[in-house]
Amino acid sequence: MTTWSVDSSQDGRYLTAAAEFGPALERLARAYEADPDRRRDLLQEVHLALWRSFASWNGACSMRTWVYRVAHNAATSHVMRERRARSQVLVSVEELEAMPDPAAPEAAAGDRQALDRLLALVQGLKPLDRQVILSYLEGLEAAEIGEITGISAGNVATKIHRIKNVLARRFHQGACHGE
């Protein structure tokens, strides 16, 4: 019989984090897993990892950095396990930038289509690049992305620049609003 050493602060921290970052964690799970059932499993796995992690949280970094680190690390583990099972080939931002653009998107594409294409793009990236683009989309600053990923601020800036290039090429103005 397994017992977990639980204190109220662990529960309290988890509940605070889940309330504040719940939607971001759901978006993160969506970026890491396309299959809806597996995505639900992944999201639960991330929440479980987060709850467990708060047993050893020491406040050395902000709660946001901690939550994203735990979530990305748990999700990366998931991607690596699933990739072995599905033999999926992932690309880097640099490779994506060098690739020819897919067929031009229709100008009348709405938010739903823009989101689907964005998801497909993100889900095909290697874990580290996926973390950078996700953090960028979530509105995190370069310094915080560096703290979460361990990549230097210079490399984060370069990657974000490339991500912006890829996004600009693949999504033209108006494509997000069905104009």
Partner: protein, 196 residues
């Protein structure tokens, strides 16, 4: 400007996507944590039982085998199986996510995972196949001795032998190639770490 506006639009599309917004009550988290732990323990138990059954079968051979070569082969298989079970016991708990996920930046964590997988691939031949080879080889020698009495079975024995060697070489090459692929990914992370 237009590009900045597009970036803002995409960020908005991303952040305003419809969500299920399902929360996990604490009680469910604890239940899942305990269930996950039980699942790992059951998996380990299954592997130990499998090992124990293997040891018991070859122990019976060892006790009842008519010739010394078969007895020696059985003893070597028992020793090899015990080694594999011990190895599983030592490394069986590595599939659980560590509790200190938040202390590692993604780069470090990802590298650790890649190194772990690479080492597993590099070593699988030595800790999962090689320990059984001496015992299996002795069984094979016994089989050859018995079959040589009837030379018409020589072709069959040769085919079996080359098939076994071919399969082992294939496993070794596949694992080596996968480990080399992981090595390249680790080198890429090392480059990023040097620049960090």
């Amino acid at each position: 400007m237009a590009n900045e506006s597009l970036q803002d639009d995409l960020r908005n599309v991303w952040r305003q996507q419809p969500l299920e917004n399902k929360t996990m009550p604490l009680e469910e988290i604890r239940t899942r944590a305990a269930r996950f732990e039980r699942r790992i323990n059951r998996r380990n138990l299954r592997e130990y039982i499998g090992g124990a059954v293997g040891v018991a079968i070859y122990w019976l051979y060892l006790k009842n085998a008519p010739d010394p070569l078969t007895r020696a082969g059985s003893a070597l298989i028992v020793a090899g199986t015990l080694f594999i079970v011990w190895r599983l016991y030592r490394h069986g708990r590595t599939t659980r996510l560590p509790q200190d996920l938040g202390f590692s930046a993604s780069l470090d964590f990802h590298r650790r995972q890649l190194v772990q997988q690479r080492d597993l691939l590099r070593g699988i031949f030595w800790w999962y196949i090689a320990p059984l080879l001496p015992g299996l080889s002795l069984f094979f020698v016994v089989a050859i001795q018995k079959l040589l009495v009837r030379p018409e079975h020589l072709v069959l024995v040769s085919l079996l032998l080359s098939g076994m060697i071919g399969a082992l070489v294939w496993i070794w090459r596949i694992n080596r190639s996968a480990a080399a692929c992981l090595d390249r990914q680790i080198a890429e992370i090392d480059r990023l770490e040097r620049e960090a």
